[in-house]
């Protein structure tokens, strides 16, 4: 395996990482997963350093796992949400970032409803920037924790057949996961209503289909969240019709297929309640992996040197 994987200063896109870079983060995450099993879940790696979490969009699991990840690395953490902050008073992203940069943070973690926000922030600060979701563009740490979860379960993604099902058009998770899964050797098919599969999505290196007729060929079924507002925009006529065609449930799944979902789940829409709670579902593992993988990302960005690996 290549050991020449480039070091990186920001994590904006899965395109920032080659396969060796992804594997290095996952290996690091394995050691941090062990920390999360201890009674004192903390290592001193980032003691005295500051991490800013800048969230312009509502988030439960991403924001909480980034916060926990930073705290378990002993960093000082500042959480800023758009509501109630100067952002609410009309301050521009640039001004906000330049103000926060005055605190000399080691890293800025940003979630934004707009594609390219993390990349812009990286141009305005000397801090390392982690993209915690930018519009419908990318969500690279979600993809890394999904690869981590699958690698733990399957050993490797090489040759694994993964179907991503649902609203691909509006999903940053889908985009980062197509890139990450294929980079790790998996074959990816996206499936969903033709109104919610982007034209020319095949250019990302996946196949696309409008039906679940061949779902049995999938070893992993990655289910996307179906947002209610898509109905009012006529992307699908009704939730009922969507569920009838695309819901992942016991009737559609065969034994042995693994089911994943980035959360939060609409029970009874994209996934049946029974499937969510079945042993085939890895949804709980994904959430658990979130903290270890985000610790690994922050560690690789801010410490990174292999000689310090023993800290964990």
């Amino acid at each position: 395996m290549s050991t020449t994987s480039h070091s990186f200063h920001h994590l904006i896109s899965i395109d920032d990482l080659d396969r060796a870079g992804i594997e290095r983060i996952l290996d690091r995450a394995e050691s941090f997963a062990e920390v999360s099993g201890r009674e004192i879940k903390k290592v001193p790696a980032l003691r005295g350093r500051t991490i800013v979490n800048l969230f312009y969009e509502a988030s439960t699991r991403t924001s909480s796992s980034f916060e926990l990840a930073a705290k378990r690395l002993s960093a000082d953490v500042v959480n800023i949400r758009s509501a109630g902050s100067s952002v609410d008073k009309g301050e521009s992203l640039k001004d906000t970032v330049q103000t926060l940069s005055a605190y000399d943070p080691a890293a800025i973690v940003i979630r934004s409803p707009h594609a390219g926000a993390a990349q812009l922030v990286a141009g305005w600060t000397s801090a390392a920037v982690v993209n915690a979701g930018d519009g419908k563009h990318e969500h690279p740490t979600q993809a890394l924790l999904d690869v981590f979860t699958l690698r733990r379960r399957l050993g490797s993604l090489e040759g694994v057949n993964i179907w991503i099902v649902g609203d691909v058009t509006h999903s940053r998770v889908a985009r980062s996961n197509i890139l990450a899964f294929t980079r790790m050797g998996a074959r990816v098919t996206v499936a969903g209503p033709p109104t919610l599969i982007p034209r020319d999505i095949e250019a990302l290196g996946c196949e696309a289909t409008a039906t679940l007729d061949d779902l049995a060929e999938a070893e992993v079924v990655y289910v996307l969240r179906m947002q209610h507002e898509r109905m009012t925009q006529s992307f699908v006529p009704s939730l009922r019709e969507y569920a009838a065609r695309y819901q992942i449930n016991d009737r559609r799944l065969r034994p042995g297929q693994l089911v994943m979902h980035p959360g939060p789940v609409n029970r009874g829409v994209e996934l049946s309640a029974a499937t969510i709670d079945s042993p085939q579902a890895l949804i709980g593992d994904q959430v658990k992996a979130g903290v270890a993988v985000r610790m690994a990302v922050l560690y690789e960005l801010l410490v990174g040197s292999p000689s310090l690996a023993a800290v964990a």
Binding site: H114, A115, G116, P198, D200
Partner: protein, 459 residues
């Protein structure tokens, strides 16, 4: 006099601040004017703002008081005409005003420009039009004409007082920035054109198809997760309005065409006998949506940059004359407006200062377009509106553009004459630099590298 617009020439609809007429002897320039057939090294003498004489190299003497320029190795073209710019006056002078916009035009080699009415307030009444004409008369560095709105506030639901706007000085009409979505509303404007004259220019976009799109819909928008503007949102409207133009025997001009389907729709309308014309921008001729992968908001404009196949179709259409002219769609925006995530940034790129160099570098050097065709298409835009065509011939008003085609320069490194810097070519190294622009007989721009060589009393 007849021209492509089917109207009498209307130079009286161009406005500029009075400038002293030039007395100038340009020596040894390679003169290229596809309309007069000049293509070789000559001397040109300008007296009192008029081309007095064209002679063999070294054949002409500078009269007393005239400046002599040695243009050895440079090209002299008829100065360019831009039928599509945004000068942002009134209301958005922090982006551009008539003085800075026309300075940018002069720096780009233009001697005539046509400004769009999507200002704040909209140029939709005689009073607003009169005020921008007055401003142009006091501050425009090159002759500037104005289009007035087709509908009040560009809202698409009520015609402006088109006849009075024509009497006040409007060259023609457009709701540019927005389409005239209702075919019925456009049809009434086309009928009314019979009364008041004036070309009706159209920004073609079906908002039901473009929706909240921010870039071309295709492989790149799929990758970036940004809402797309499909090519058919433009081409279906070109097809519809070509049919309406034919039905009403109206004169229609299609602005900033961007895709292969629109070129086909324009060609079909012409073949059917419609009196229609089209324009294309330097950025659509030279860039594609691949540039948007950078997420740099300088590449955000409407219509959006499209694919390589679209770009090639536009070049082909310009070469074969389906598309008559180049138009920059110069659209200045302030830095703080563009320094935001791509989806939030306003649409538009500046283009006056880079138009010739961008196309010359990307298309002429590669052989996609001949230099003579480029000069023809960069000087044809005004004639569509009935404006006089710049020509290099004795007796013509001096509208000249002196270009060092060998000069390499990096866009933006010396700043811009425009008040704004949102140029899609920013940071690129281009070939071809404008050294001198003479517009309507007066020197409108003198490049920083051009050392004046006064021969006698003045300066």
């Amino acid at each position: 006099m007849s021209n492509l617009s089917g109207q009498p020439d209307q130079p009286d609809r161009l406005f500029a601040a009075p400038q002293p007429p030039a007395d100038l002897l340009i020596r040894h320039a390679h003169i290229l004017d596809p309309r007069t057939g000049l293509d070789g090294t000559h001397d040109v003498l300008v007296r009192e703002g008029t081309i007095a004489e064209i002679g063999a190299a070294d054949a002409l003497e500078a009269p007393d008081g005239a400046e002599t320029l040695d243009a050895e190795g440079w090209h002299l073209f008829p100065a360019f005409v831009d039928p599509h710019v945004h000068l942002r006056t009134p209301g958005q002078e922090y982006k551009e005003d008539i003085e800075t916009g026309t300075a940018a035009a002069a720096a780009g080699g233009f001697c005539q420009i046509v400004a769009m009415p999507n200002t704040s307030p909209t140029i939709d009444t005689a009073a607003v039009l009169g005020s921008v004409i007055a401003t142009a008369r006091s501050s425009a560095r090159v002759p500037t004409g104005f289009l007035a709105a087709i509908t009040h506030g560009l809202r698409g639901d009520e015609l402006t007082e088109m006849a009075e706007l024509r009497d006040t000085g409007a060259i023609g009409f457009t709701d540019d920035g927005k389409p005239v979505t209702s075919g019925g509303m456009l049809r009434k404007a086309l009928q009314y054109q019979r009364l008041c004259g004036g070309i009706i220019a159209l920004h073609e976009e079906d908002p039901a198809l473009s929706g909240d799109g921010v870039m071309h819909e295709g492989a790149v928008s799929a990758r970036l997760g940004m809402a797309g503007i499909p090519s058919v949102s433009e081409s279906t409207m070109v097809a519809r309005d070509g049919a309406l133009a034919l039905f009403e025997d109206a004169r229609v001009h299609f602005q900033h065409l961007s895709c292969v389907e629109s070129v086909q729709a324009l060609a079909a309308a012409k073949a059917a006998g419609a009196r229609v014309s089209g324009e294309v921008s330097p950025h659509h001729l030279t860039l594609t949506d691949e540039a948007v992968r950078s997420l740099d908001s300088r590449f955000k404009m409407n219509p959006p940059l499209r694919t390589e196949a679209d770009r090639r179709a536009l070049v082909d259409g310009l070469r074969d004359g389906t598309i008559e002219c180049v138009a920059t769609d110069h659209a200045p925006h302030a830095a703080h407006e563009k320094e935001v995530p791509f989806e939030q940034a306003p649409m538009g790129t500046t283009g006056l200062e880079t138009a010739f160099a961008a196309i010359y570098t990307e298309l002429v050097a590669s052989g996609e377009l001949s230099l003579a065709t480029l000069i023809e298409r960069m000087t044809a835009g005004g004639a569509l509106y009935g404006l006089p065509i710049p020509r290099i011939e004795p007796g013509a008003p001096a509208n000249l553009c002196l270009v060092d085609t060998a000069a390499r320069w990096t866009v933006g490194e010396d700043g811009y004459a425009s008040r704004s810097s949102n140029c899609a070519f920013h940071g690129r190294t281009l070939n071809g630099r404008v050294m001198l622009t003479v517009a309507a007989g007066a020197i409108a721009y003198r490049g920083p590298l051009l050392v004046a060589q006064p021969t006698a009393r003045q300066r």
